[in-house]
Amino acid sequence: MNFKRFARKWLRPGRATVIAVPYFWLLVFFAVPFLIVLKISFAEQDIAIPPFTSLLNYEDGGLLHVTLNLANFQFIFGDELYADTYLSSLRVAFFTTVMCLLIGYPIAYAIARTDPARRNVLLMLVMLPFWTSFLLRVYAWMGLLKPNGIINHLLMSVGLISEPLEMFHNTFSLYLVMVYAYLPFMILPLYAHLVKMDIRLLEAANDLGARPLKAFFAITLPLSKNGIIAGSMMVFIPAVGEFVIPELVGGPDTLMIGKVLWNEFFDNNNWPMAAAVATVMVLLLIVPIGLFHRYETRELEGKNV
């Protein structure tokens, strides 16, 4: 049993403990909660503390009785409003992602093409808003976009417009602020991929007769595919469940599922409904999260080779 002795002596004990500590934490505080959400989504709202019914009841004969209440899900799938809200959330997240990509790609590309000495400064400038408060950055736009806000004031005092522009609490302000808030999450992974790219590949493409634009589409874009996917997922997934931006700058008719969940929970005190909304959202996001995870790990392992 040489192997066992060997393993015990200098492989196992340390290794198992080292894995167990973060594993246990994540299991208890991240994975298990989802099961609880699932469980409570099958409960009914109740006037109690906590405000929901129990799924398990012991009847007189000691018989365990499980009540699965599907009403919440029936409601979500039956009510058009919910369906519309999910669709609208996905749409907002999708177009936010596309716009972030269209704006972020040229910026990331330009930074990657800058000389290394100045590159660090530029990168720092992208990071800086990311490090300052998200909430305050959203707030900044409120002052700019309001009917009596800074932009309208400026334009009116210059005489370009006589009536304030409608830019606040509507779709325009929602998208603008969404793109603004999520842009750094797109730029950083894109930059990380572009900067690693060997410029000689482009030179070789040019040498073989490809014009710059052609070379970009044939070489640069495909090689930055992983960055595009990583950045897009980092924007898309949280954007689906975004609450702060639609709440503060979105229009009254803006339907976002994060806001609905928040309202069910905090305003209606309907915890089972909020749990059901969350469950459906997780199901919708499972594929993009899986995709993100796959590229994330592949990226790190690729470096390893």
Partner: protein, 383 residues
């Protein structure tokens, strides 16, 4: 046993063992998943020996070295060092140290701290550590640089620090993984001799791993040739070059002409081999231990192949006619590629003085020439 059939005088190493081997590797086998990395290797190493494991990348030599260091665990087999079975000993409990290929100097520690690291793990008294570090710094002539960080050193200096660090604990066995692989060619040749001198001065037993045959030939007292996880041949540099026991060794060490043939005459004092590529025979002036009709391979080194304009005395035996297809002029000698009618190309290495002394013009492209060799020079191999 069909090996080393050509060994006319089975020369044994000068350092012949008069005691049990210092390091005994027996039946070491290692699998990664379904891939066999090291295939039942047996090897004995004597004390104070500098042994080189030579092979191309992926041949299993590095895995074998890592198993000696304890970084990998053999699937089966035994390693005994100086009477102690170390097969299952953890790396940090082994009296073995290693100089890593990229040196693996700790970047956040000075030269001095790097050398002292292993001694500190042994919890030696402070004074002892200091004096040993000083001794090591002197050994590799790096005293001046004791307080530098690794990145403030050149490649050659880093190599010396790595050597000092691995010698500081006075290991029973020193492992060198491509010791000079990270240096450029010019520096490498200069460092080879320096390294051997240091190792001999310390008198440590060494196993080095390299893919560079010149490095192995210059530095090692004995060489083991590895391919596909197997140890094919072990011997002194001279033995390996002059008496390769298989085609792989013959082609891996130096250049050679390899001819496939069939034993047609097998007498105690001579052997004849029919070689279709020559459209003739090879006649060898000693016997081999193989039956008639057996397929064998013959290796003839280019420097053993004579090039002439005149046909040899015994046409069809130990000679062939061909045309010059390629000439590589290399200063003091030239290598001629001669294509035989069968299409086989024989390389012949000819000293530049040969033609001058004979009062002839050197042969040129497309000239018809004859290649020939002495009957004692070809080496016959059965695998």
């Amino acid at each position: 046993m069909m090996e080393a059939v050509a060994a006319a005088a089975p020369v044994q190493t000068g350092v012949q063992a008069h005691n049990t081997p210092y390091l005994q590797i027996s039946g070491i086998f290692k699998k990664f998943g379904d891939n066999v990395a090291v295939d039942h290797v047996d090897l004995d190493i004597r004390q104070h020996e500098i042994f080189a494991l030579l092979g191309s990348s992926g041949c299993g030599k590095s895995t074998l070295l890592r198993m000696l260091a304890g970084m990998e665990r053999p699937t089966s087999g035994r390693i005994v060092l100086d009477g102690q079975d170390i097969t299952h000993l953890a790396p940090y409990d082994r009296p073995i140290n290693m100089m890593f290929q990229s040196y693996a100097l700790f970047p956040h520690m000075s030269v001095e701290q790097n050398i002292a690291f292993g001694l500190k793990q042994d919890k030696l008294p402070k004074g002892e550590i200091e004096s040993r570090v000083a001794e090591m710094l002197d050994l590799v002539q790096m005293r001046k640089y004791a307080h530098r960080k690794p990145y403030q050193l050149s490649g050659g200096q880093q190599q010396r620090v790595a050597l000092a660090r691995s010698l500081a604990k006075r290991p029973k066995l020193l492992l060198l993984d491509e010791p000079l692989g990270a240096l450029d060619k010019k520096l490498r040749q200069q460092t080879q001799l320096e390294l051997v001198n240091t190792l001999e001065k310390v008198g440590v037993t060494c196993i080095m791993v390299t893919h560079d045959q010149e490095e192995a030939m210059t530095m090692a007292t004995r060489i083991g040739i590895m391919s596909e996880g197997q140890l094919l041949q072990v011997g002194t540099p001279g033995e390996i070059y002059d008496y390769p026991n298989c085609r792989f060794t013959a082609e891996f060490i130096g250049e050679t002409n390899l001819l496939t043939g069939m034993v047609s005459v097998d007498e105690p004092d001579h052997v004849e081999i029919d070689v279709p590529e020559l459209e003739g025979r090879i006649w060898i002036d000693h016997g081999i231990t193989g039956p008639k009709g057996m397929q064998v391979w013959t290796s003839i080194r280019p420097e053993d192949v004579r090039l002439d304009r005149k046909p040899p005395a015994t046409p069809g035996v130990n000679s062939a006619r061909g045309t010059v297809v390629e000439i590589a002029y290399l200063g003091s000698y030239s290598v001629y590629h001669v294509r035989l009618p069968s299409g086989k190309v024989i390389k012949s290495m000819v000293p530049s003085s040969r033609w001058y002394e004979a009062g002839e013009e050197a042969p040129t492209w497309d000239e018809t020439v004859y290649v020939s060799w002495r009957p004692d020079l070809p080496v016959v191999m059965t695998r």
